[in-house]
Point group: C2
Chain length 596, copies 2
């Protein structure tokens, strides 16, 4: 198969004028081996070097772009219509799934039948798709059969970030300390396939979420981050949640979990999925609990099963399943300082105690796999017993649960169902490596997806920072995806601004870990930004940063009103004390007074 | 010498009412072997356990307190009068210094003579103190003579944080990974003395800053943080700077550097020092440069020397001296991506180039030592060649300069002058341990005082977070004090709110590192906070946090208006989905329905 990577088409999104500065930030698409593989990237175009009549030297830098069509001025975005079903053709042409004539979930059908005037329903009523009889539609299944899917090729292009186009200076980087990860210089579609086949990476992409831009989670790829949104009984509306999702991906969220526990869970999720270019995860037990009026003991396998199918047919890409909470661990959990802090874990514990039985998530796990493989829902095996305090870190309850999650991973893999493992929680810095090592050991290399971890308990109001610290360490050790924590953690649900703070903090963590691991090309963005900083190309510096608006806003507010933004000094030190200005003047002096 | 530690007197500062909650946060003083050794601590008094008629069980927890008399309602604070000269008697009774009849610095005398109507002068004109002829007044000098000073005893009490008073549960902690640090269970005054004598720790306390509450910086003690304040040509006033200092220590700044480069440097510093209970550091070359109109080539040893004396007689506790910037390293620095980013380093480079000479900071270093030991000014040997980007991390220029700083350390120690070493800057996570190892090797165990480091360059506007990540790692590896970075780093000077953000981020880093090292008792605060969290004692949880006001404000804003703050669920998940509520109810169920 001939691949013609890197054919780029683009639309100007944020052209900024300026002397020797960014001449534009564009949303571009890199085309793969077929015209419908179009991978979005953010292109930063800088003017650098000599600018005489012979023309300006342009330096283009490509950044990973999670923001979807919302940042493409060429795309017609309409929240009420949802995003284009980009993957529809790929799914259809595999001829292993079919469009159903009605919803398979009883609740889904009741919901549809019981629609009321004035309800906030998503306008289009889609019919869901499901695997054909005897078929398995997971990416892992294809991978194990040796098939390279368009999703895998898309991911390969995306992960490479066009770094071969960079000038040598920007490519230079420190040899990392990979701590067991293997990162090839170039990610090929075949490499993606091999990693998925081996279970070391997952591609969460439900066949009912064709709007999703494929992405991969695995420790031999770029570190990803997840943003949690969702309403609770306390607050929030559908509009707000959709807005938070769009806001989350704008700042770099790679996946979004809808953790709604309040009203309108079904509808909220529909709006989110139809508008989401990133995988959406959920914790189905939350909705199941709402269905039984919040009484955990009223839960049943039948209600849970119907909820899984309901959500799978909406297009949820991954399910958190707390199947590792087993009755033999509850005593160990009761000895803790802070007991069970996972909501799913505590719900299932209550159920087990009330019924004196092993959890149906565990006993029915094979049946859950059957559902997952009919839609390609990835499992995120929940750590219902994750420690909720430094005191409880790496304790018996957590580690024993991890062993169970490892068993369940093998079960899922027998069904070719993709699996990642959720991780703590609260872990002091020096116990993070051990936690990672045990996860790899017990869970056979399945990707780790950790909440932080928080490296101390003493900073309520600032836990995005305690989490970013632990997250950096954890991702360096091999965690594939970090679940963000916002400044409201332990206190309340995040609003839009908290989402931004949480995302940026964890983008920092993920990127710092890529640098530490020595991920090929990771340092290019740092190099480019620092070069722009040293050359007083402010717009370029900001365009390359994680939050251009905030950085630009800070500088603008500090510059004297009459100052041009091309001022050759930093607003921190003022003109006389600008070390970079002094160094540059010395360098120019050495070069005979010429601008270099 | 009989020591009667732990006699506590206190004043109520922030009593908060509440069911089973904090009954008070008090500023208390622990008295040492003599009545004028009164070590401030923040006492959190909680009601816990059974609350029947036999009385309430009180749990008192003591926190390190940097906030000075400003948080003591029993103290009469008046910014125009300055703080009480707490150490005056200790300094006098050593009989090795004398009060001068006039300022020794020519500039100081001119400034005094040239006072103008309406100038912002500190009301009291103090006469400075200086070592007697042939005397050496440094804490290192006393330590090496085997003397335990009141400062050392004060520090021992302060570092122990009364942890012997804690119940066993709170004392429990994970064995740390000390990475070469040795931390005894109890810090004795003799241990403080030994560490200072060995050069592994410094006590910055100029004899002209008797208002200073003694503290120690060394890797075998609690990790400290510094906050930079100071105006620039761009902004800020004296009032603002004094306010920032008070704000900085309120949130936990252990030392404050006044990096003013604008107008009124001398007066700004006087107001700050007279009101500061924490050591004040400066970079004297900044003021020297102001004196020559911002022209680095006009600097001279004479002007610099006079500036050192001027500042030493005001009471500056530590000087950053960029004496390691030597001409043989300038070529290596020019090969960098971002050249020289230290202001002091770039100023001295310019001077060296203009004069074709080695820097006077280096050639006159013995004379600088003579000044330092006459006032007990600690050196903070500046890393003029610290890397300003990930690209330049751990490069030849930095490491070679470190070797020079090691030489200079030995020179200073021959004079019994206290030394710490400033460190980078920008270092990716995986190169931090190496950086620390080289510092220990070349600088003979002198305390490391690092700016961050920032673990990536790509987050302008959020560099307090990139710095807290690197700072945690660096402090775990053995850095004794972290210099904070605020969200405005690279963009502008911090305002009051940035100071708070920067401080809290780095308090998190310092504490997380103490936990990782296994500092005795470090986990007690985490344990107490998490216990309060699990027991829904919201006020206690917040009182134990780094920023009670913020955490309380977030919760208040989210609670329904009619809710009582004693609500037994978390504002994050709402009543039904509160995992802690569920776990607690299960635990109570197991205990026969009784509150435990």
């Amino acid at each position: 198969m001939m691949r013609k990577f890197h054919e780029i088409t683009g639309t100007e999104t944020g052209a900024v004028s300026g002397e020797a500065g960014t001449i534009g930030t564009r949303k571009v698409y890199v085309t793969g081996s077929r015209p419908d593989i179009r991978v979005p990237m953010k292109e930063i175009v800088q003017k650098v070097g000599a600018q005489d009549e012979s023309g300006t030297e342009l330096l283009k830098i490509y950044l990973y772009d999670t923001s979807g069509p919302f940042t493409d001025p060429g795309a017609a975005v309409n929240i009420r219509a949802g995003l284009p079903a980009m993957r529809e053709a790929w799914i259809e042409e595999r001829h292993d799934s079919m469009v159903l004539s009605q919803l398979s979930s009883e609740y889904g059908r009741q919901r549809l039948a019981g629609r009321v005037e004035g309800g906030q329903y998503f306008p289009e009523e889609r019919l869901p798709r499901r695997a054909g009889k005897g078929c398995n539609v997971t990416q892992m299944h294809y991978a194990r059969k040796g098939i390279v899917t368009p999703e895998m090729e898309y991911i390969a292009i995306r992960e490479n970030q066009r770094r071969e186009s960079l000038p040598e200076l920007l490519k230079k980087q420190h040899p990392g300390d990979p701590r067991g990860t293997r990162m090839p210089q170039v990610i090929t579609p075949e490499y993606v396939r091999d990693e998925v086949a081996a279970g070391r990476a997952v591609i969460p992409c439900n066949i009912n979420h064709p709007e999703c831009e494929p992405m991969i989670i695995g420790r031999n790829f770029l570190v990803k981050i997840n943003a949690n949104i969702g309403n609770s009984a306390m607050s929030s509306s559908i509009d707000e949640e959709v807005e938070k999702m769009i806001w989350a991906i704008r700042w770099g969220g790679d996946t979004v979990m809808d953790l709604s526990t309040g009203v309108d869970i079904h509808e909220t999720r529909e709006w989110i999925i139809r508008n989401s270019p990133v995988p959406i995860g959920t914790v189905p037990i939350y909705q199941a609990l709402e269905k039984v009026g919040g009484q955990a003991e009223e839960l049943s396998w039948e209600i849970f099963r119907d909820t899984l199918i309901e959500q799978a047919e909406q297009g949820v890409d991954y399910f958190t399943i707390h199947a590792g909470v087993r009755s033999n661990l509850l005593e160990a959990a009761q000895r803790r300082l802070t007991g069970i802090v996972s909501r799913g874990g505590s719900i299932m514990t209550k159920w087990c105690k009330a019924h004196g039985q092993e959890s149906f998530l565990y006993t029915r796990f094979e049946e859950i796999c059957e559902i997952a493989k009919a839609y390609d829902v990835t499992f995120s095996l929940g750590d219902g017993l994750r420690p909720g305090s430094i005191y409880d870190a790496n304790d018996e309850a957590q580690i024993e649960e991890l062993k169970t999650l490892g068993e369940l991973t093998e079960t899922a893999w027998r069904h070719d169902v993709q699996v990642m493992i959720e991780g703590p929680g609260h872990v002091p810095m020096h116990m993070i490596q051990e936690n990672m090592d045990l996860q790899l050991k017990y869970c056979h290399g399945a990707p780790f997806y950790t909440l932080g971890p928080l490296v101390t308990d003493i900073a309520p109001g600032y836990d995005h920072i305690t989490s970013a610290i632990g997250g950096t360490m954890m991702a360096w050790c091999g965690t594939a995806m970090l679940c963000y924590v916002t400044p409201k953690e332990h206190l309340g649900l995040p609003d839009k601004n908290d989402v931004r703070e949480g995302i940026v903090a964890h983008k920092i963590a993920a990127h710092a870990a890529d640098l530490a691991k020595g991920h090929p090309g990771a340092q290019a963005r740092d190099n480019a930004l620092s070069k722009a900083r040293f050359e007083f190309r402010w717009q370029d510096q900001f365009a390359l940063g994680l939050d251009p608006e905030r950085a630009m806003g800070i500088r603008k507010a500090l510059l004297p009103e009459d100052a041009e933004d091309k001022e050759q000094y930093c607003t921190m030190c003022g003109p006389d004390f600008c070390s970079m200005k002094i160094t540059r003047s010395l360098r120019e002096g050495a070069a005979g007074g010429k601008e270099e």
